[in-house]
Symmetry: C2
Subunit: 347 residues, 2 copies
């Protein structure tokens, strides 16, 4: 028998997410028989990303809504194969998956709509997991935002997993970088740890007024993780031919209302602005190039990764909900806290 | 003495423009002495374009606000030099200018922020005037929208001066074209005269539902003249990697409120949509190419120009306000109705 814990989606929130939207379920289940091509994995690490909040909305308000009564689906998860009927995934293989919030999952790597990526022994699973966010930052900034050396780049949620990568990659690209984050500690991190030229504390400062001071020639590239008021404040200060790479709209996620756009579209006309939404999978064919650059920059010490690691499967909903209160710094990862993590490669 | 009539901006409207926002002024003025480089022109034709409405708003709500108590500034105007102290603009020269709503203006072609373009005798002044709008359509569609043959292009205000050009140029580019216009007559014109594959009457049909029927694979390129509800209806039906060329936001012009953007920015992310505002002057270095293409297509009968011509300087405000009630079809031009137009080249 397997002792399987799950966090299921019990109900869809009206407005902000609440703990009682999740249901904890714990039961002993028989070890499953695996069909050809199936594997049984033990889920050990779970990245919590803001985009998951949109999947909790009903179909029609989300691009991949989670069904009620099923486990929460996450972004990157680190798991280990514990039983296998698939030749390329022997027992012990560490895989990166779109995690499900449960201890054990049966997966079919060849047919699953969610990729199941076996990690070679030399790759730390946590690196593979955070690479998803690093690649999002890489492609969103460089391909969508197209910053030129000397230009001014502004990033919202600059202390977040994606945002902190954008800050650093923009510096590597030779840009002047302004990070927007919530609170003094995060702003400090954005400047001192990630190397932004300045940071704006949106909780205590007038973002538009500060942008006007810091970017007198206007914002050339805005990497938008947040949307809402901050997006509008940047548009008020955008340069002619400015570009906005729209990665997320976190300000609107923890509600059941849609994410509103610009207050004044004329600014887009007057300043010939480009606003471009994107998702990382558009650029998957170039993922190897991105990963190689990210690896090299990391080894050279030019790209610092910060994880915010919490322990305990039971804490998943609480950790996740904290994202919308700005409680995390860097990539938020929950480790299940099980002895299986004793495997030293599982770092 | 010169008998000079003017339409001055008397007050800025709260909400929709009213006749009493304009002041008619009529007086005899002494013939001006011209400094070196100045010309005196008689203004004979006035294009009325929706964008002029934004110039009537206060500074800060417009990119080139008209000062109170000064003549209304228009888009293309056709004028004739009646007195000259400039060697390249002898008496009799026909010029295209950004018109001022007055019979006589003193201009300094070399220093004016508004271009003063002498027209060679073989060019009909009305062609030169409408070329401004044709070039806007040409660059906005081809450079900003970047339609590929076989793609579906949607155009709002498809019966308008710019919109009707976009419909036809998109057909020339090998696209399937859906025009959106107000009322049966305009929709009929959009299909039968300008060659759209279908038209949607936004006054009597549900635009989003009709787009879903007409564009089951989604809208690849949207040329947006109108904004507001129609923009949102198109975004509801946009294809993955769809492009929106934002030319105008007429739905919001005749008010003092800004032009609101998207209701749900997530659609831009989920479908990797590009929204790009533009103004024609970005592309001025390629205007010769555009004019040559437009001339050739016109001569080949592939590009039809429709003017809606009104007579009488005194009717300018009324004609202009009609734009926002959808009263015009094609390029709205007001001729002053003076005997000077007897000049046969002034057609």
């Amino acid at each position: 028998m397997l002792h399987n814990r799950q966090w299921l989606l019990k109900s869809r929130p009206k407005g902000a997410l609440r703990l009682d939207n999740f249901e904890f379920c714990e039961q002993d289940i028989p070890e499953p028989d695996l069909k050809q091509g199936q594997i049984l994995v033990r889920n050990l690490m779970f990245t919590c990303a803001a985009t998951m909040r949109t999947w909790i909305n009903a179909p029609g308000h989300s691009n991949r809504s989670i069904d009620l009564g099923t486990p929460i689906r996450g972004t990157a998860g680190g798991s280990q194969v514990v039983k296998s009927n698939h030749p390329r995934f022997p027992v012990g293989t560490r895989v990166m998956i779109l995690s499900l919030w449960e201890d054990y999952s049966v997966l079919e790597p060849d047919t699953s709509p969610m990729p199941v990526l076996a990690q070679p022994p030399e790759v730390k699973i946590i690196e593979a997991m955070r690479n998803l966010n690093s690649c999002t930052a890489y492609f969103g900034l460089l391909r969508v935002g197209q910053p030129q050396a000397g230009e001014t780049v502004v990033v919202s949620a600059a202390g977040s997993s994606v945002g902190s990568m954008v800050v650093q990659i923009a510096k590597i690209a030779g840009c002047r970088v302004i990070g927007i984050a919530g609170g003094h500690d995060k702003c400090d991190l954005v400047v001192k740890e990630f190397g932004a030229d300045a940071a704006i504390d949106y909780k205590h400062e007038n973002v538009s007024a500060r942008l006007k001071e810091l970017c007198p020639k206007g914002v050339d590239v805005f990497f938008d993780n947040v949307g809402g008021d901050i997006l509008n404040a940047v548009i008020d200060n955008i340069a002619v031919k400015g570009r906005v790479a729209v990665c997320g709209q976190v300000a609107a996620y923890d509600s059941d209302a849609p994410a509103p756009g610009l207050r004044d579209m004329m600014k887009v006309i007057y300043r010939s602005v480009t606003i471009r939404g994107f998702a990382m999978n558009e650029f998957m064919q170039d993922a190897d190039t991105a990963r190689a650059d990210i690896k090299r920059w990391t080894e050279e010490g030019r790209l610092k990764h910060r994880e915010d690691i919490r322990i305990g499967f039971e804490n998943l909903p609480h950790a996740f909900m904290g994202l919308f209160k700005g409680e995390n710094m860097g990539t938020l990862i929950v480790k299940s806290g099980e002895p299986d993590e004793g495997n030293p490669s599982f770092q």
